[in-house]
């Protein structure tokens, strides 16, 4: 049992003794656990800007009750920590100022987190199930000898969580027996939380300065003025039916602009080179759950549905009336996307 848990139980027991009220043991432990949930939420930042998507881990932590501390590390991080301190729900923000952490490499980030988790005695550690969280958290879990719980969509209690398996075709409820729960959180399953209204204290964390045997060379990020795919309110998505990159680029962006939507794509469209890898929606791409998911030329393979079926409203345009996408679409239109999508774009622009 983790030290803070034990201490808390003792504290709880002591309180009961002082009150000299016999309390059922079960009651003590449950209340003690509830009171003692203390979460470290690992927040992402990039060149001094907080990633708002990573605030979902705070919303998930709020369902546990207990205190929540945010964690940031990187170069010139103090201003990021001050910004994070305004996030509603955080009690404290721990920051580690060191340029070595700027690129989020797990080789030195994992020892960094382990040190700060031990120092803070947290019962839960949560991060977004993003590229950063997926890369880092299992390494942290292994160092702490913990079986991580990935991509949770619900918090049932302090040790019981819900997550999709088999590309979302089954929903698993698991109960963890580990002292510290290491968790990644599906961003679309929890509200992003408010970036304002909080007043957390800001404190410097421990820096073990582990060596990093990996050199970060470069990156190539798709530039876009459109909303971020993972958090967009509306998403328009194109598939193999678009036939070529030229057609994709001719047909999808005007529709996205008409709606103020992000652009996504099916794996078939990405593999065929119509769209960038980072736009892929599905089991192995991004999970989205926008208000509106409008797709054209996508048949609806289970791997694709895994990434979008929690969307509020799904609309589909496909020339094959028997395409599986129509089984999940709230609004289906059978027709040639090369006619229907431009017509839709035009009418949306007029409206």
């Amino acid at each position: 049992m983790a030290a803070p848990l034990r201490n808390g139980l003792l504290r709880q027991a002591a309180t009961c003794l002082r009150q000299q009220q016999p309390t059922p043991v079960r009651q003590i432990s449950r209340d003690a656990l509830r009171r003692l949930a203390s979460t470290l939420a690992v927040l992402e930042q990039r060149e001094g800007k907080l990633n708002m998507g990573s605030l979902a881990s705070i919303s998930a932590a709020q369902k546990l009750g207990g205190s929540i501390h945010g964690f940031v590390a990187g170069a010139n991080i103090k201003s990021v920590a001050d910004e994070a301190a305004k996030i509603d729900g955080l009690e404290k923000v721990i920051y580690v100022e060191n340029a070595d952490y700027e690129k989020g490499l797990p080789e030195n980030w994992a020892p960094l987190l382990v040190e700060n988790i031990k120092k803070g005695g947290y019962s839960h550690v949560m991060a977004g199930h993003s590229a950063f969280g997926k890369n880092l958290m299992p390494r942290v879990a292994a160092l702490l000898d913990v079986q991580q719980i990935s991509d949770i969509t619900e918090v049932e209690s302090e040790d019981t969580f819900v997550r999709p398996i088999y590309a979302g075709n089954a929903i698993l409820t698991v109960q963890s027996s580990d002292a510290t729960k290491i968790i990644t959180v599906r961003g679309t399953a929890f509200p992003a939380g408010a970036a304002e209204g909080g007043s957390a204290s800001v404190e410097e964390g421990a820096d073990p300065k582990a060596e990093c045997p990996v050199e970060w060379v470069s990156e190539n990020l798709a530039k876009s003025d459109r909303p971020d795919l993972a958090t967009a309110e509306k998403v328009v998505s194109g598939g193999r039916g678009l036939k070529s990159k030229e057609e994709f680029d001719k047909i999808m962006p005007p529709l996205a602009d008409a709606l103020g939507a992000a652009i996504g794509a099916s794996r078939a469209a990405v593999d065929s080179g119509f769209a960038d890898n980072s736009l892929q929606v599905g089991q192995t791409g991004k999970n989205v759950a926008p208000q509106l998911y409008l797709c054209a030329g996508i048949s609806g393979a289970i791997q694709h549905l895994a990434g979008m079926k929690d969307s509020k409203v799904i609309a589909a345009i496909n020339k094959d009336a028997d395409a599986p996408i129509f089984q999940v679409a709230d609004v289906g239109l059978v027709g040639d996307l090369f006619e229907k999508v431009p017509e839709l774009t035009e009418k949306l622009n007029k409206a």
């Binding site: 590229a131 299992p138 390494r139 590309a167 970060w216 509106l292 509020k312």
Partner: protein
């Protein structure tokens, strides 16, 4: 002087990706009596290892590994038909291993078999955990490059391009290391009939969890497996105007 590559490729037997899994009546698991095959990401791992040899990298050997019930042997044979030299099968019928248990097992295999490169799939399509490679890297304290879409080896220096949110990033490190594969790394080959026949003669060692002294007690108790909330299609509309008015009705516009 080039470092000899001693590659370990862990492979997992999973329900075939084209099968839509169904939750059983007791809500304890999905129905298992369906077609199984190699986890698609693991095919990419084997393919990458074999391509390293084909591109004249100094590959000493490629060891395929799987832990699980007797039938997992078929998956190791498939890996050998694709080009792995030999296999180890840890036969475990009772416990369905969790990523942490597998990572601990792989750590032992790496040490005993003197491996310097482990290539794993980024996730298995059954539990969708995306953990084992990172955990193994942590246990060994080796560098990791996850979700790799390109790998270049030059001596003991390795450059990996990995898929991240919004694009790709490139990392450089040195062997020994852990790589996990993403979809766009390569196009796995089909095992040809002659190679399938040859694979039957390749050495396959059977071992048990006890041989490695690993405690694989599960940390996560499965409380329930449920069907996702069904989603009812809302039917079709005749034309674009119908679509727009329906979307307005649903509050999506």
């Amino acid at each position: 002087m080039a470092t000899k590559l001693r590659i370990l490729v862990p492979v997992k037997r999973v329900i075939d990706y084209a099968v839509k899994p169904r939750v059983n009546k007791a809500q304890t698991d999905v129905e298992r009596n369906v077609k199984h095959s190699m986890n698609p990401f693991d095919e990419l791992s084997i393919e990458e290892a074999v391509r390293m040899r084909e591109s004249k990298k100094p590959v000493e050997d490629i060891l395929a590994f799987s832990a699980g019930p007797a039938k997992s042997q078929d998956i190791i044979r498939t890996a050998m038909a694709m080009g792995a030299d030999r296999g180890i099968h840890v036969v475990e019928e009772k416990i369905e291993l969790e990523p942490l248990g597998v990572a601990k097992l792989l750590q032992k295999v790496v040490e005993q078999e003197d491996r310097n490169l482990v290539i794993l799939g980024k996730q298995s399509i059954d539990d969708d955990a995306n953990q084992t490679g990172q955990m193994l890297a942590g246990l060994l304290n080796w560098p990791q490059a996850t979700s790799a879409s390109q790998v270049e080896i030059d001596g003991d220096s390795v450059t990996v391009t990995r898929e991240v949110d919004g694009g790709v990033e490139t990392l450089k490190t040195k062997l020994p290391m852990i790589i996990t594969t993403d979809l766009r790394l390569n196009e796995p080959r089909y095992a040809s009939l002659p190679n399938i026949m040859k694979a039957k003669k390749k050495p396959l060692e059977k071992k048990t969890m006890a041989d490695y002294g690993i405690d694989a007690t599960k940390r996560l108790k499965h409380i329930k497996v449920a069907e996702p909330a069904p989603r009812q299609g809302g039917g079709k509309v005749e034309d674009v105007d119908g679509m727009i008015s329906k979307l307005k009705e649903l509050g999506a516009l």
